[in-house]
Each structure stands twice: as structure tokens, then as C-alpha cells.
């Protein structure tokens, strides 16, 4: 039987390559849903941005906001009222118009508990828009949001997938299963979802921003990274995301194109400032000097990351301080700082995860960090946990359990990470993620101020100032900023990886 099966395959020599005009993308997992209000994972977002548009979007190659379904907007004096004017004549894939009522439906569905379609949730990221107190359809093309207080990240939250606009008629027809029969306005329309095999989208010839050249997009969930690489090498898929660093070399040939893009990602070590050695600033700085970040990025991660200088990712170019030098690798300086501190107990418990969203290669990184710290005198004991267990240990705070923990964040606004992890009001017992208990009143007030400032240049200056202070206080060891990568076959053109880590494929062509 096996022999006959082999004979059968040998009879049709080389397998057919992927069909012309169809782009097959190797994804990392089966999507949960294709309803933007219900999704939380980048894996799902990569499909969503091809099905839907938001009021605004990120300008290609940047994390700056530009118009999409809205042709423009006005922000009131004081920053609490946002009024958007919608483009004329845009329709959902089901032919219904994108008007102010449709936009209002989208936000009310997520935020208003007695909305008739609120039960099509849950909507885990609805808190992105929790500042909205009221959404009004002023006329067919004008929609007005009133916020409870000035909230500058509002625009970039609208550009994030949670802000993508769905068809109200589609939600009414699909109910709880709308996520499996999605209707949007994007460059591609939903065709079918074969569970655990593929999500198929076909081109929207009437797309308002220019119809795609591709006839169809297929997203295949291939959870195993080695299998994903093998599929790419064998020609079974045209594009893969999240190429494991160790596999990159295989794609540096003329048959493939390799894309890289730094994203809004920060990989760091949380240091416990409440008890243990890292309550002392000198020892926190010593740890920053002791760890060879260049070697981590270059050798362990094979160049798929760059050394980080602080809590703001370089992808937020308008808020990033490129004059802030990362802590250099200087074990002698680390030893001197340790001596200066007079500390005798240098034993450190280090929480490491086996893997998780944005965590890159956490075990080899953890081991290398352990060795670097040992070289200057720290006695580091690693404890390893599976990702969800790890979050359950780290999020409630490190006090009494560990001195150091790996962590990584990917965000859509420079506000998110420091606001949730570095403020005094973000201590774990107050519902935040400040698991190392960093507290600096100046940082607190800079972050509060930045979130209310709607002028981007002034906001950027506030984040740069904040990053400088945090860099010096060293509540974390700042390690890496991940460069996302993707591989396509040589036949694929006009593909750009976006710093948002979203996968926009509307302009892509395939020979």
C-alpha cells in the first residue's frame, strides 16, 4: 500500500507549484475569528487588514496615522472631541454603504452593554476605546466621538485592527458566527474558511484604494516552524512569516526574497526593585553593563534583533530618542559598580519562559544572560515556565519570588508599554504590569502629560525625556528590539513588511 502510494506520487513527477495569481501565506496558527472586535492575536490581525479598513491606518513604512475610510478629522480644543468625515461612496463587500451610522454601530457594539449586538462578543480589546463616552452620527458622512478625557493614543488605536470597521448588515446576518463569515471594505473579500486548512480571500475589484492584482489570498495555519520552513523550501507556500533565525541562511538564495522590518517591540528583563539585589540602582546598572546584548542579538538571534536603549521602540520614530546610547557591554564597569554598592548577596532568581508572543528565543537568551551575569559575580538561578504559567507568575509582581524575569511587548503606540509597566499607579495590585515596582514621580507625570498631548511633536519630546530618565534608573535590562522577518518566493513583488507587524497584501503581485 505504501509502495503503491509512493508509486502514485512518483508518477506525477514534481508537484504543481502554487497557482498563478494566488498568494499562499504560511501563518503560525489557526485564526480564532475574523471579527476584528473579537481578535487579540497578531496572527489574526495579519488576515484582518486585508479584509477590512479602519477610519485611519498607518502610513506605509511608518507608525504614523493617515486617513483611510475617513478622509479627514478634527480634534477639538482640549482634545476630547474627534470629528471624522467619511470618504464618499465607499461600500462594504455586501453592497451596504460605509456611513456614519455604520461606524457608530461598530463602536456601540463593542462598548455599549445594552446594544442589541453586544452579545456577539466578547470583545477583549474593547478597552482600547474605553475613553469614548459617546459616538454620534452627525450626518451621513460625519461621525463624532466624545472622550471622557484627552487621550492621545486614540488615533493610533483607531488604526490598530481593533478599530477596523465591519459591516453592520454582516453582523446582523452572522450574529455570533460573524467571525466565520466576515464582511468588510478591504482589498480582499472573504471566500471560505476551511477549518485547520485555509482561509481563502478573493480580490475585491471595486476596492476604493485600487483593486489588487492578485486574484486570491490563502492563509494556511502551519504551527510547526520547521514544517513552515519545509513548505517554503518545497514551494508549497509563497510567503512565510516569523522565519526562525536558524533557518534564515537557507533562504539567502536567488529563489527567495527576505524582508526585514524593525517593529514596535521591546524585549527586556524586569528587575525586582522591591527586594533582593536589584533594589539597588548600582546593581541594576551593573546588570545592564554585564550583559552582552550585541552577542544576544547577533549570535543567539542571528541578527534578527537590534540592541534596545530603553522603553520606546525605534519603530516609533517620532517618539524615539536615537541619541540615547544603549548600555555598552562592559563587564569591568559592572564589577566596579558591584564593588561600589558593597553588596555581598548576589544570588538572583531568574524567571525564564519556554516561548510566547514576541519572546523570540527565550531559553537560549536566558542561558546566555545567566552566563554573562555569572562572569561579573551574580549567582543566577534560572526557573523555566510554560508561557501562560509564566505570565501567571510574573504579572502579579516579582516580590518574594524572583529578582528578574524575561518579558517582551509589542504595542501600537509608544504610550502603551511605559504606561502599563513603569508607572507607580501600574503596580500589580493596582491592575497594571509594573511587576518590578519601578516608581519615579517624574516619569509618572511625564507619561500622564504625554497621553493628554495631541501635538505629536510635543508628545514625542515627552517620551524622549521619559526614556532618558528610565534608561538611567534602569528598572529593566534593556535587551533587544525585534526585527520581524518574512520570506517570499522570488516570484512575489511589491511586498513590504510594515513596522506595525501587520501584513498588508493589497499591492502585492506574483509573477
Amino acid at each position: 500500500m505504501a509502495v503503491s502510494a509512493l508509486a502514485l506520487c512518483a508518477a506525477s513527477p514534481a508537484l504543481a507549484q502554487t497557482p498563478a495569481g494566488v498568494l499562499i501565506v504560511g501563518q503560525i496558527a489557526e485564526p480564532k475569528s475574523l471579527d476584528p472586535a473579537a481578535d487579540t492575536a497578531v496572527n489574526d490581525f495579519r488576515i484582518l487588514v486585508n479584509l477590512y479598513d479602519g477610519l485611519v491606518r498607518y502610513k506605509s513604512g511608518t507608525l504614523e496615522v493617515e486617513p483611510a475610510l475617513a478622509e479627514g478629522w478634527e480634534i477639538s480644543e482640549g482634545g476630547t472631541v474627534y470629528t471624522f468625515t467619511l470618504k464618499e461612496g465607499v461600500q462594504f463587500h455586501d453592497g451596504t454603504p460605509v456611513d456614519a451610522e455604520a461606524v457608530k454601530f461598530n463602536f456601540d457594539r463593542m462598548l455599549v452593554e445594552d446594544h442589541p449586538y453586544h452579545d456577539t462578543g466578547p470583545f477583549p480589546l474593547a478597552f482600547f476605546f474605553s475613553a469614548i463616552t459617546q459616538t454620534e452620527a452627525v450626518d451621513a458622512r460625519t461621525v463624532k466621538f466624545t472622550l471622557n478625557e484627552p487621550y492621545a493614543p486614540f488615533l493610533s488605536n483607531l488604526a490598530y485592527p481593533t478599530g477596523l470597521i465591519v459591516s453592520p448588515a454582516g453582523v446582523k446576518a452572522g450574529g455570533k458566527d460573524f467571525g466565520r463569515s466576515p464582511v468588510g471594505t478591504g482589498p480582499f473579500k472573504f471566500k471560505e474558511w476551511r477549518s485547520n486548512e485555509a482561509v481563502v480571500l478573493e480580490k475585491n475589484p471595486d476596492y476604493w484604494d485600487g483593486a489588487p492584482e492578485l486574484e486570491a489570498l490563502v492563509f494556511r495555519p502551519i504551527t510547526d516552524a520547521n514544517t513552515r520552513v519545509a513548505e517554503m523550501l518545497s514551494g508549497g507556500i509563497d510567503m512565510m512569516v516569523e522565519v526562525p533565525p536558524t533557518a534564515l541562511a537557507q533562504f539567502r538564495t536567488q529563489d527567495f526574497k527576505l524582508a526585514e522590518q524593525a517593529g514596535p517591540h521591546v524585549w527586556f528583563l524586569i528587575l525586582n526593585m522591591k527586594d533582593g539585589p536589584f533594589a539597588d540602582k548600582l546593581l541594576r546598572q551593573a546588570a545592564n553593563y554585564a550583559i552582552n546584548k550585541k552577542a544576544l542579538c547577533g549570535d543567539v538571534l542571528e541578527g534578527t534583533a537590534a540592541v534596545s536603549n530603553g522603553p520606546v521602540a525605534p519603530a516609533f520614530s517620532w517618539a524615539y530618542d536615537d541619541s540615547l546610547e544603549p548600555y555598552p557591554y562592559d563587564p569591568e564597569k559592572a564589577k566596579a559598580l558591584i564593588a561600589q554598592s558593597g553588596a555581598t548577596d548576589l544570588s538572583v532568581t531568574f524567571y525564564v519562559t519556554e516561548g510566547g508572543s514576541g519572546m523570540l528565543d527565550p531559553i537560549p537568551m536566558g542561558t546566555a544572560i545567566q552566563a554573562d551575569l555569572k562572569a561579573v559575580g551574580f549567582d543566577v538561578k534560572i526557573e523555566t515556565f510554560e508561557w501562560n504559567t509564566f505570565l501567571g507568575k510574573v504579572n502579579p509582581g516579582l516580590e518574594g519570588q524572583a529578582d528578574m524575569a524575561e518579558m517582551a511587548w509589542m504595542t501600537n503606540d509608544p504610550d502603551t508599554l511605559p504606561f502599563l509597566t513603569l508607572r507607580t499607579a501600574a503596580f500589580p495590585d493596582q491592575g497594571g504590569f509594573n511587576s518590578g515596582y519601578y516608581s519615579n514621580p517624574e516619569v509618572d507625570s511625564l507619561l500622564e502629560e504625554a497621553r493628554k498631548e495631541t501635538d505629536q511633536d510635543k508628545r514625542g519630546a515627552l517620551y524622549r525625556k521619559m526614556a532618558g530618565i528610565v534608561h538611567d534608573d534602569a528598572p529593566w535590562v534593556f535587551v533587544a528590539n525585534w526585527k520581524q522577518n518574512a520570506v517570499t518566493s522570488a516570484a512575489v513583488s511589491h511586498f513590504t513588511l510594515q513596522p506595525s507587524f501587520l501584513l498588508e497584501l493589497g499591492k502585492v503581485t506574483k509573477a
Binding site: T18, E30, A230, S234, E386, N388, G392, T411, F433
Partner: protein
């Protein structure tokens, strides 16, 4: 016989109830919860509580267990939060894929294993025996996932004879030939270890039977060797081979987890791994109970067949 089967089925009930308790407790005790898995970085206590409440996880443990059990008895396995669809739909979809894979593998290893064992025994210490023993040793020693990866490298990446992964081609597939192309590597990789084990057991069982007096009698009466081996010896040896087949069916089913990961086969093993990582409680619980029930039924079936072959066993 009917009475026997009924008795066995009734005695399976406490086993299955025990399994529901164990899997429920394990899922309740392991650290991490669905809300944290959903929210990742944004798992603030407030958000976690909101999501847990919407999933009904804020109720007391005992109450949750009985709600779950009660619903399951009426055929309602709940809704998977990570896949946003009914658990039973997902399990049945995935289980049929696993059955195609494990079933093919099982048939492969049963036929190849028994055949190899019989040939080995009939030609004890001959070159065929030596060759088979050697190949069997390799089959048993190489982990199936490694064998799977090697097969992918050779037959899919280098030679491009077979597709790397999946169950059907994305375009223009869906027929039996397409399925066979996708099935060939995973089924073989999965069958390898079990084939080896079955071959060894079949060989020793056959050797034992071939030494019996009645075989000598048969040979003395001038029955052809082929007939002696296949008709007289194999039938008697099957009584001891059959339980091994039953056990190996279980191993093939559990080994399917690795193979499904390597070949991205959309089966129940890969489903369970994904579900555990996402803390998709209802899907894990439902999936485990379903698979356990299949094991129990399969074991009963093996015992019944064994009873039919050997009337002494029926007790």
C-alpha cells in the same frame, strides 16, 4: 457473548467518569487561565475577571464540574473560546482526520508487522530473518517525529515527490489521490515503531507455536509448509498477537500527536496540543474524554474478538 459485552460496557462507566474528574481537575489546577491566554500582555486583573465571568469560570469548581458533566451527557460539549465554534463539531472534524491517519497507519503496521514476524519465524536464522530483525530494530529505535522530519526533507523538499504537510491540496485537490499523496509520509512515519513491535511479538509468538506437537503432527501428515505456517500456526499465534495489536492501536493513536504536529495533519492530537497551550479548557476536556471513550471501546472490541478466537478466554 452479548451479556459479556454489556458487562464490559457497564464497567467502563466508572472509568470514564474517573477520566472526566481527572481531566477537569488537571485543567483547573494548571497555572494560567484562558483569560490570560486571550489577553496576553493586556491581562490586567480587571480584564481577566471580565473574561472569566463571560466564560463562566467565576463559579465554584464543583458547580462548574457538574454543569460541564450535565451538558456533556446531553451531547453539549460547550463552545471552544479559542476557535469560536462548538467543541463537538471541532472534535468530530479533527477525529475523522486522525482516524484516517491512525487507521491507515494501523492497517499498515498490522499487515507489515505480522507479515514480517511470520516470515522471520518461518525462516528463523535465515537471511530474511536477519534482514527483517535489523530493519525492525531501526524502526523501533528511531523516534517517529525525527523519521517524519527526515522524510519531509528527502521526499518533499529535495525530491519534491510529496507535499510537505496538510491533508489536502489547497487548490484542485480533495480527491482520493490527493489524500493518498498527503497521507503517505505521515502514515508510514507513524507506523514505523508499531510495525517493529508487532513484528517482534509476531515472531516470538509464531516460534512458540511452531514448536508445538500438533504442528509436528501436521508436518508429519504431509501438509504443505505454507499451509502449516499460515493456517495452523498463524491462527493459534493470533491469540497472543491480537492483544499486542490492540495495545499498538493505542500507541499509534497517541503517537499521532507528534506526527500531526510535524506534518500539520488537522487531527485531534494537534488540536489538543494547541488547545492546551491556549488553555482552551472545554476543548481539552471534551477532546480527552472523547479520545478516552474511544480507547475504552476499542479495548472492549479487542477483548471480544479475542474471545471469539479463543473460547477459553471468555470469562
Amino acid at each position: 457473548m452479548t451479556g459479556y459485552i454489556l458487562r464490559r460496557l457497564v464497567s467502563a462507566i466508572p472509568v470514564l467518569l474517573g477520566i472526566t474528574v481527572i481531566v477537569f481537575l488537571i485543567m483547573a489546577m494548571i497555572p494560567g487561565d484562558p483569560a490570560t491566554a486571550i489577553l496576553g500582555s493586556y491581562a490586567t486583573p480587571e480584564n481577566v475577571a471580565r473574561i472569566n465571568a463571560s466564560l463562566g469560570l467565576d463559579k465554584p469548581l464543583v458547580q462548574r464540574y457538574f454543569i460541564w458533566l450535565g451538558h456533556m451527557l446531553t451531547g453539549d460539549f460547550g463552545r471552544s473560546y479559542a476557535l469560536n465554534r462548538p467543541v463537538l463539531d471541532e472534535i468530530l472534524d479533527r477525529f475523522s482526520a486522525t482516524m484516517v491517519l491512525a487507521g491507515t497507519s494501523f492497517v499498515l503496521c498490522a499487515i507489515l508487522g505480522v507479515l514480517a514476524g511470520v516470515v522471520s519465524a518461518a525462516r528463523q536464522y535465515g537471511w530474511a530473518d536477519r534482514a527483517i530483525t535489523f530493519v525492525v530494530l531501526i524502526g523501533i529505535s528511531v523516534p517517529s517525529f525525527f523519521l517524519g522530519m527526515m522524510m519531509i526533507l528527502i521526499f518533499a523538499v529535495r525530491l519534491k515527490w510529496l507535499p510537505v504537510s496538510g491533508m489536502y491540496a489547497i487548490y484542485g485537490g480533495g480527491d482520493l489521490a490527493d489524500l493518498a499523496r498527503h497521507l503517505a509520509m505521515p502514515a508510514l512515519a507513524l507506523a514505523a515503531v508499531a510495525t517493529g513491535v508487532i513484528a517482534r511479538m509476531a515472531r516470538s509468538a509464531m516460534l512458540e507455536v511452531l514448536r508445538q506437537d500438533y504442528i509436528r503432527t501436521a508436518r508429519a501428515k504431509g501438509v504443505s509448509e505454507t499451509r502449516v505456517v499460515l493456517r495452523h500456526a498463524l491462527k493459534a499465534a493470533m491469540v497472543s498477537i491480537l492483544p499486542v495489536l490492540g495495545l499498538q492501536a493505542g500507541f499509534v493513536l497517541s503517537g499521532a500527536v507528534y506526527i500531526e504536529m510535524v506534518f500539520q495533519w488537522p487531527g485531534v492530537g494537534r488540536m489538543l496540543v494547541d488547545a492546551i497551550l491556549k488553555r482552551d479548557i472545554l476543548l481539552v476536556q471534551g477532546g480527552v474524554v472523547f479520545v478516552a471513550a474511544c480507547y475504552v471501546v476499542f479495548n472492549i472490541a479487542v477483548d471480544v474478538v479475542q474471545g471469539l478466537l479463543d473460547p477459553r478466554i471468555k470469562a
